[in-house]
C-alpha cells in the first residue's frame, strides 16, 4: 500500500483521463458510423459473435434466475398466504431490474472480454497499424461494427433472458409448487405495464447497458499497452469498469424512468 500511496494522486487523474478518453472515443465511434456502413458484413459477423453466440449462456442463466426467484418468493409469500402473487413479482423483478442488469453483466463477461482481448491482440501484433498503412480506417472497420453489434444484441438478449426467466418461474411455480396456472398469468397481466416495465425497463435499460459495455470493451482494447500483460490488464479492466458502470447506470436510469 505504501508503495502505491504516492501514485494515489495519479490514480485519480488516470481515472479521470480514462473517463475523458472514453467519452472522446465514443464521439469518434459515432462519427465513424457512416464510414462503417460499407463494412456491413463485418457488423453482421460481430452480431453473430457477440449476440448469437451468447444466447446459450443467457438462456440458461435466465432460466435459473426465474426458477430461483420463484422458489424464494414462494417460500416467503407462503407465510402471508400470498403465493398467488409470486408470478407477478417474478415478472416485475425480472423486467425492471434483473433482466437487463444480469444480461449486461453476463454480456460484459462473455462478449466484452473477448472484444477487448481481440482488439488488444490486434494492437499488440500491429494489425491495427497495418490497417492504417493500407488506408483502412481501424475505427470504422474494427471498433464501430463491434459497438453497433453490441447495441443491437443487448436488447434482444435481455428479451430472451426475460422470457426464459418467466418460463423458469412458471416451471417451478406452476408445475412443481402447484400455483394455479390462471392465477399466475392473470396476476401478471393485471400489473405488468408495457410502457413502464417492458419498454422502459427491459429495452431502454439494456440498450444503454449494451452501449456502455461495448464502448468500454472497444476502448480498453484500443488503448491497451501492446504487451501480453497489457492485454490481460485491459481485459480485467473491461469487466471491472463495465460492472461498475452497469450498476451505477442502473440506479440512475431507474431513478429517471420509474
Amino acid at each position: 500500500m505504501n508503495q502505491r500511496a504516492p501514485q494515489g494522486h495519479n490514480v485519480v487523474t488516470q481515472s479521470l483521463a480514462q473517463i475523458g478518453g472514453c467519452g472522446l472515443f465514443l464521439l469518434t465511434l459515432l462519427a465513424a458510423i457512416p464510414r462503417s456502413l460499407r463494412y456491413f458484413r463485418e457488423t453482421l459477423r460481430q452480431l453473430w459473435f457477440v449476440g448469437a453466440m451468447s444466447l446459450t449462456i443467457i438462456m440458461v442463466c435466465g432460466l435459473f434466475i426465474g426458477m430461483v426467484l420463484m422458489l424464494q418468493l414462494y417460500h416467503v409469500l407462503s407465510i402471508f398466504g400470498g403465493t398467488s402473487a409470486s408470478g407477478l413479482v417474478v415478472a416485475l423483478a425480472v423486467y425492471r431490474e434483473l433482466g437487463p442488469v444480469v444480461t449486461a453483466l453476463l454480456f460484459a463477461g462473455r462478449a466484452g472480454t473477448s472484444i477487448t482481448a481481440e482488439i488488444g491482440l490486434m494492437r499488440a501484433t500491429d494489425q491495427i497499424d497495418a490497417m492504417e498503412m493500407m488506408a483502412v480506417d481501424p475505427i470504422a472497420y474494427v471498433a464501430t461494427p463491434r459497438f453497433l453489434a453490441g447495441l443491437i444484441a443487448m436488447p434482444l438478449l435481455a428479451c430472451v433472458f426475460c422470457a426464459m426467466a418467466i418460463f423458469g418461474g412458471h416451471l417451478v411455480g406452476v408445475t412443481w409448487l402447484g400455483i394455479d396456472n390462471g392465477t399466475f398469468w392473470s396476476n401478471m397481466t393485471a400489473v405488468v405495464d408495457v410502457h413502464t416495465d417492458i419498454v422502459n425497463g427491459v429495452l431502454l435499460k439494456s440498450l444503454a447497458f449494451g452501449a456502455v459495455v461495448t464502448l468500454i470493451a472497444v476502448y480498453q482494447g484500443f488503448t491497451t499497452p501492446p504487451t501480453s500483460e497489457g492485454v490481460a490488464y485491459a481485459t480485467t479492466r473491461t469487466v471491472v469498469a463495465s460492472s461498475i458502470a452497469i450498476l451505477a447506470l442502473d440506479f440512475v436510469l431507474t431513478a429517471f424512468l420509474m
Binding site: R41, L44, R45, L47, W48, F49, G51, A52, L55, G81, G82, S84, A91, Y95, I152, A153, P155, L156, L157, C159, V160, C162, A163, I166, W185, M188, T189, A190, V191, V192, D193, V194, D197, I198, V202, L203
Partner: protein, 291 residues
C-alpha cells in the same frame, strides 16, 4: 471465426428473430396488453353508497370472467352516493336489468373489483342504462362496529370550508390523511392537535367546496383502509336539512378503534355497553349503522 459466411448470417438471423419473438411474447402475453379488449364497449351507470378502495380501470367481472373495466368514479353532488360508470365489452350485452353490481376484494389484501350477478328479469340493460341494485364495499370497521354495537360518538368540524372535530382517540391518523364520504376522497386532514382543556384530539379537516351540502348532523369516524392500511376520516351524512358551513363543528364522531381495546372487551366481558364512555361526556349519538 472460420465459419462460412452463410452459416453466421443464418445464425444471426435466427438470433434476431428469436430476440424479437421474445420481445413480442413479453409485450403481449405477460403485460396488461393481454387484458385490453379491442372490441367496442358500452357504458352502464351504477350508484354505490361506498366504493371502498375501488379504482378507475379496476376490472368488472361476471362469474369471475373479466368483461370490462371501471371507467370513472365521481361523487354525486349533494348526495352520499358514488357514481361509478362501467365500460362493458360489446360482446357481453345481455345483462338482465335486475342484476346486482357488488364490490368485491380479490383475497384479503387484494385489489377491489366489481362483480355483476345476473338477475332473472327478461329485460336487458341498455347501453347507457343504470343498474339500480348495488352492494357497497364492506368496511372492516363497520363489520366490527356491528359486532360490538359501535355507535357514532361526537365530532366537531370547523373552517372555511375547514371543519373541526374532536375525537377521544385518533389512532394513527396523520396530517394529510384523506377525508372520505361514501369512500370518495372529498378533503384532507389539516391538523391533529390535543385540546388542552377538553383533553381530546382536535382534528381540522379541509373539505372541497363542491361538497357544501353535507348535513350538519353528519358523523365523522376514523376508519382504516383494509386490514393494514392507513387511517382516514369517513363522513356519514345525517338527515338535517341545514348544511355544514365553514367553521362548523360536527357533533357526532366515532374514534379510531383500537385493536387492543376490542380484544380486551372480548376477554373481559364481551359487552358492548361500556363503549359509550368513548364520547367523553359529549352527546352520544345513536349507532350510525347505515347499512
Amino acid at each position: 471465426m472460420s465459419q462460412p459466411r452463410s452459416s453466421y448470417a443464418i445464425g444471426t438471423g435466427l438470433f434476431i428473430v428469436l430476440g424479437f419473438a421474445a420481445l413480442a411474447y413479453l409485450a403481449t402475453q405477460t403485460s396488461s396488453v393481454a387484458n385490453v379488449h379491442q372490441g367496442a364497449s358500452y357504458t352502464i351507470d351504477t350508484h354505490f353508497s361506498n366504493i371502498g378502495q375501488l379504482k378507475e380501470r379496476a376490472p368488472v367481472k361476471i362469474a369471475g370472467v373479466r368483461v370490462g373495466q371501471v371507467r370513472s368514479i365521481t361523487l354525486e353532488p349533494g348526495q352520499e352516493v358514488a357514481d361509478v360508470k362501467l365500460a362493458i365489452d360489446k360482446s357481453y350485452d345481455r345483462i338482465p336489468l335486475d342484476s346486482v353490481a357488488a364490490i368485491y376484494t380479490s383475497g384479503l389484501l387484494g385489489d377491489q373489483y366489481i362483480g355483476i350477478q345476473y338477475g332473472s328479469s327478461k329485460k336487458l340493460v341498455a347501453p347507457g342504462g343504470t343498474l339500480t341494485l348495488t352492494k357497497p364495499a364492506q368496511q372492516l370497521e363497520e363489520m366490527l362496529g356491528k359486532f360490538f354495537g359501535a355507535g357514532g360518538v361526537a365530532d366537531n368540524l370547523g373552517g372555511t370550508y375547514v371543519v373541526t372535530a374532536d375525537f377521544t382517540n385518533v389512532g394513527a391518523l396523520t396530517v394529510g390523511a384523506p377525508v372520505k364520504m361514501a369512500g370518495v376522497p372529498i378533503g384532507t386532514v389539516q391538523s391533529v392537535v390535543a385540546d388542552p382543556v377538553k383533553l381530546d384530539a382536535k382534528v381540522t379537516m379541509a373539505i372541497d367546496k363542491r361538497y357544501n351540502q353535507i348535513p350538519d348532523d353528519s358523523a365523522a369516524a376514523i376508519f382504516t383502509s383494509g386490514l393494514i392500511g392507513t387511517q382516514y376520516v369517513a363522513i356519514q351524512p345525517g338527515g338535517s336539512p341545514t348544511a355544514l358551513k365553514n367553521g362548523d363543528e360536527m357533533i357526532l364522531t366515532q374514534s379510531a378503534m383500537q385493536l387492543e381495546d376490542l380484544i380486551g372487551k372480548f376477554l373481559v366481558n364481551g359487552s358492548p355497553g361500556d363503549k359509550k364512555d368513548a364520547g367523553n361526556g359529549k352527546p352520544s349519538a345513536p349507532p350510525a349503522g347505515k347499512q
